[in-house]
Symmetry: C2
């Protein structure tokens, strides 16, 4: 029995996956013991696409229904992205009892559990390795590799664009806007960079990983999310003084009383392996009850790394089609639902990094110290870089571990002061990895 | 249908796996959608073992045949270790058409391909995640996670004991013998440390990983292997001067003409993530044709981390028993055999670190430089730490990239010199990760 594959969407990832299926077909056949056959490719502009030469008769169409209804196709690969058409494609394919492979983080984060149920009802599979951290096989790790463990904490650098921008600021001391413009020119950032630099892309990925790791049905909008637009080069200078660096950190941590989730720029110790993730790379750190710490690192995106994830999923699903039923328990609810409750970030207790830009006046530190003391927040250090032009120079206060709620309340009080040039900027100092 | 499990061997890993199966059973059942049942445990001294309380009737025996022949058992877990009895256990279990889960690196490195064939003939599975890099699910990654890729290079730190010893020497500046004694006291090293510090344990693991990654049937004895006994604290001082550190590096690299394999102490750049693997941790770096670089890190051993690998394998095999046939292509021959040929390490071209201990005589550097020049080896740097007592102080020459064969021939010539206190010590300076 042969297994037929249909690809819908021939953008960056679609062309990468197709290239691997064609170029690497001998190795794939050797590993599987049978061949995969691409039977159809679909794209709005299929006529203008330069495709690798495909064996046998391959339907080229601009209508996705031709793929979903094709009786020679067992696996539909959805690589359109977005939540509208892609949702229709996946639903239709599953109802036609075809397994689906997708790279669609946004759709899976929003509707993963529902679509998985639909797949299960139809006796087929829904595979989504490529939806998070492109080249890192993190789904496989959570689903099979460390399935016997129970995850306690998961930290991730899940957006390559913002990691590239942050590490460029760190390296070159250039301002966010300048580095963003450079990243856009290099093709590392989109014309509208919001999904990347405002943390929304990372949030979708964290929602998926947290669902797989903790079995919770999460809504991405429930995750506290902050982007990297406020990061200044001086923040890295202060962070380095503290033997830390700054990353857009995704966090899912089981605490007393529930699951804490956030996406936000955070200080992390330079001694942590996560601090060595630079450029457009992604990484995931997992702490398990029994297996302790494991760490996974690779390309966060890119045509061929994400293509590997797509093709590896196609191979796994093809094996199931060939050798057995894909009946499985939903990866979105493998622990009992209700065991974890999303916690508000405000309950988190950590040291904080507080950056202030002020006018040159007397008594500023005294005022800030008084307000922090009122909220029972201990000061760990006051940092000020030497500079000729004192005016407008940001300085930093780091705190003893404090409840984020207290920090927030203190910052509300501080905002009433007349010496602030802009609202204070707070980042948690994450520890323990 | 329930799936019955029998454990043979209740040492460190056996007790860890059993603890996880009992304590984490609800999570395991939730993920699988059915329960695992431990039906028998076997150990030479089963009466004296303190076991977690097990549900239902559990056979406790000191005769492994009672487990292998038990009709209620579908999965036999071999955790005895060694190649003698363990080999009989696995063969007998496979012939009884029971799937086998094992942590036995030595046996799998020696007889993996043969045992896998036997499993296949009997329509059952042989799972071995726990045989390499305890807490890191590296088999799952190679078998499924990045199955669509074609591996070009693989680097590993695969022996936790020697990594612990090396990083202790680095940290404390103490001599190898003193650190080894400390590691033995702490239980990190065995009374007979040879398997760890002479690289034999790492060699078995590299043989398994290389077989999985490259589809080659490898004999561990074909792998060039050197241990860490000659490393001195001063080597770390010189390495740090060169912005490098030293690790016992396992390497499998596809070069022109074949596959190059080695286990040996090597200099690696401090900028590499691998340089940040300290203590008893393990790590694997993989470069794929399409997915580029990925990196995996975790506990190399330990009752519970390795127990997670065993339990995750049990879960995967149990799913196959429950939902479909485990018929698979051998992981030991998934690429066409013969495509890779083990290459002699002597063809490797790298910069080398050469350490000399000499008597105080005139003209030593001139003599060494002349011999190296004769073999067309360029000198990159001559390093000598300042020290009061010059006598017996090792100094170092680093070379431009050179064929290892040339280095070896030069060292043979150098050994004829009358100023050497001991044979020169050479390490490659690995790059590219």
């Amino acid at each position: 029995m042969e297994v037929g594959v249909g690809l819908i969407g021939l953008g960056n990832v679609g062309l990468g996956a197709l290239q691997i299926l064609v170029e690497n077909s001998q190795s794939i056949t050797d590993k599987l013991g049978f061949s995969l056959h691409v039977r159809a490719v679909c794209s709005r502009h299929v006529g203008s696409k330069k495709l690798p030469s495909l064996d046998g008769a391959v339907v080229r169409t601009s209508d996705w229904q031709d793929v979903v209804r094709n009786p020679d196709i067992d696996i539909v690969v959805e690589l359109i992205g977005g939540t509208a058409t892609a949702g229709h494609v996946i639903e239709a394919a599953l109802r036609e009892q075809k397994s689906v492979v997708t790279a669609n983080k946004e759709l899976i984060a929003l509707r993963g559990a529902e679509l998985w149920s639909l797949a299960n009802q139809n006796g087929v599979n829904l595979a989504m390795e490529a939806s998070v951290a492109g080249g890192i096989p993190i789904h496989t790790v959570l689903r099979e590799g460390i399935a016997g463990d129970r995850v306690i904490e998961l930290y991730g650098i899940l957006n390559g664009t913002s990691n590239f921008i942050l590490t460029e600021i760190e390296k070159s001391n250039a301002a966010f806007d300048a580095v963003l413009a450079e990243a856009q020119q290099l093709g590392y950032a989109e014309a509208d960079p919001s999904a990347d630099v405002d943390g929304l892309d990372a949030r979708s990925k964290l929602a998926i990983l947290a669902a797989l790791a903790f079995g919770e049905r999460l809504s991405p909008s429930d995750i506290y999310t902050e982007g990297i637009r406020r990061i200044m080069p001086v923040d890295f200078q202060y962070a380095h003084q503290l033997q830390h660096t700054i990353r857009l950190l995704c966090l899912a941590r089981q605490s007393d009383g529930g699951l804490l989730l956030s996406v936000r720029p955070s200080l992390i110790p330079q001694s942590a392996i996560l601090a060595h993730v630079t450029g457009a790379y992604n990484a995931v750190w997992i702490r398990g009850t029994y297996g302790e710490d494991t760490f996974y690192y690779g390309r966060g995106a890119g045509s061929r790394p994400t293509g590997v994830a797509v093709v590896s999923d196609i191979m796994r699903v093809a094996r199931e089609i060939r050798f057995g039923s894909p009946e499985r328990v939903s990866p979105f609810a493998h622990d009992r639902l209700g065991e974890f409750r999303p916690l508000p970030v405000s309950v988190q207790e950590l040291p904080y990094y507080l950056r202030f830009r002020v006018e040159d006046k007397a008594g500023i530190i005294a005022t800030l110290a008084t307000i922090l003391a009122k909220h029972r927040i201990g000061i760990d250090a006051v940092l000020q870089l030497p500079r000729e032009d004192w005016r407008d120079l940001p300085f930093v206060i780091t705190t003893e571990p404090a409840k984020e709620q207290s920090i927030r309340e203190a910052l509300v009080d501080i905002r009433e002061s007349d010496f602030l040039v802009e609202a204070p900027f707070a980042m948690p100092m994450q520890r323990g990895f």
